[in-house]
Symmetry: C2
Subunit: 166 residues, 2 copies
DNA sequence: GATGTGGCGAAATAATATTGCGTCTGAGGC
DNA sequence: GCCTCAGACGCAATATTATTTCGCCACATC
């Protein structure tokens, strides 16, 4: 099973750094119950082995002037691999598109977009997204409000699972 | 306009910390072109005023055993505020639900969910989500692959906008 | 029971964060 | 035009943290 190369201390470290990525190493060591040097070694190992992909400040979108958040459900005309890849590459190049997931079912892609205001998004939608090659249809839904936006993963679910299989 | 209380250096700090939240203050100061003490003062101010909501390690979901990611489109029977809030509260309590956004249009909510495997998600879907009070219908779409998942905001868009209005 | 591997922690050192303070610049009042 | 003051800067000093070094112990292998 994936993740089983990690011991409980490693998972504890990941959970703590997921919750507060700027915690000092001494504080982290205290919380997971080991001393600072081995704790730092574990963190470095987790970083190098890819368990930790990076650290990011969580910046308030509204405060910064990004008032609008939109989900766009995209259907393509062709689902040939070359066409899927081409669309993904286009998404990566659009700064307003923050996430692009390929889905099963009738919708091919779901995009999470941000914009400073509605007109900026509308311009993007009509001039770029809908107009792009191979795009059959785009259905957009404005985010009215956000009830939950937890970064990362539920470590409690993971722990429960591992204790069962043990 | 929102964000205009920030000068270019502040925005530069936000952009850098969004890209690498664990950058040392001396490195950050070097990049934004001021000395360390005022740089740290600015970071603290940005944290206290809520521009920076927190810092998080980005943990690899697959490596940790979360193989499955799903978007769930939920419609409710009643859209009265009390019923909306009740559903949101339930979402906050479900660990597999990482994001819950209220949308305009025919879909009331979109949920981003993770799970260790498909059967775990199916159990959650049938026993919890679909079975919850006031839920009229749930349409789920499995994420086949993720082409883009950028944390945070496009600062280049913001800078372009501000330079135009100047 | 010898031996090697891996992880731990104490101590020392290097780097970083943080505080205190003197200086400069720009806005507003006289 | 000049004075004053608030805000922000940078230097230098100090406190805290990160990082390296090294010896010790537990466990698995033979």
């Amino acid at each position: 099973m994936a993740g089983s190369k990690l011991d409980p201390i490693d998972r504890h470290i990941l959970a703590e750094l997921q919750a507060d990525g700027r915690m000092t190493n001494v504080e982290l060591a205290k919380r997971v119950g080991i001393s600072a040097p081995p704790c730092l070694r574990r963190v470095r190992t987790l970083e190098e082995s890819g368990y930790i992909k990076g650290y990011h400040a969580d910046v308030d979108a509204r405060e910064l002037g990004f008032e609008v958040q939109v989900f766009a459900m995209v259907r393509l005309q062709s689902q040939a691999e070359a066409d899927l890849s081409a669309f993904e590459a286009r998404c990566r190049a659009w700064p307003l598109v923050r996430e692009c997931h390929m889905l099963n079912g009738e919708i091919d892609f779901i995009l999470k977009c941000v914009a400073p205001d509605l007109s900026t998004f509308q311009s993007f939608l009509t001039a770029e997204l809908t107009a792009a090659d191979n795009v059959a249809s785009v259905k957009t839904s404005l985010v009215i409000r956000c009830a939950k936006d937890e970064p990362g993963l539920p470590f409690d679910v993971l722990e429960a699972r591992l204790s069962k299989s043990a």
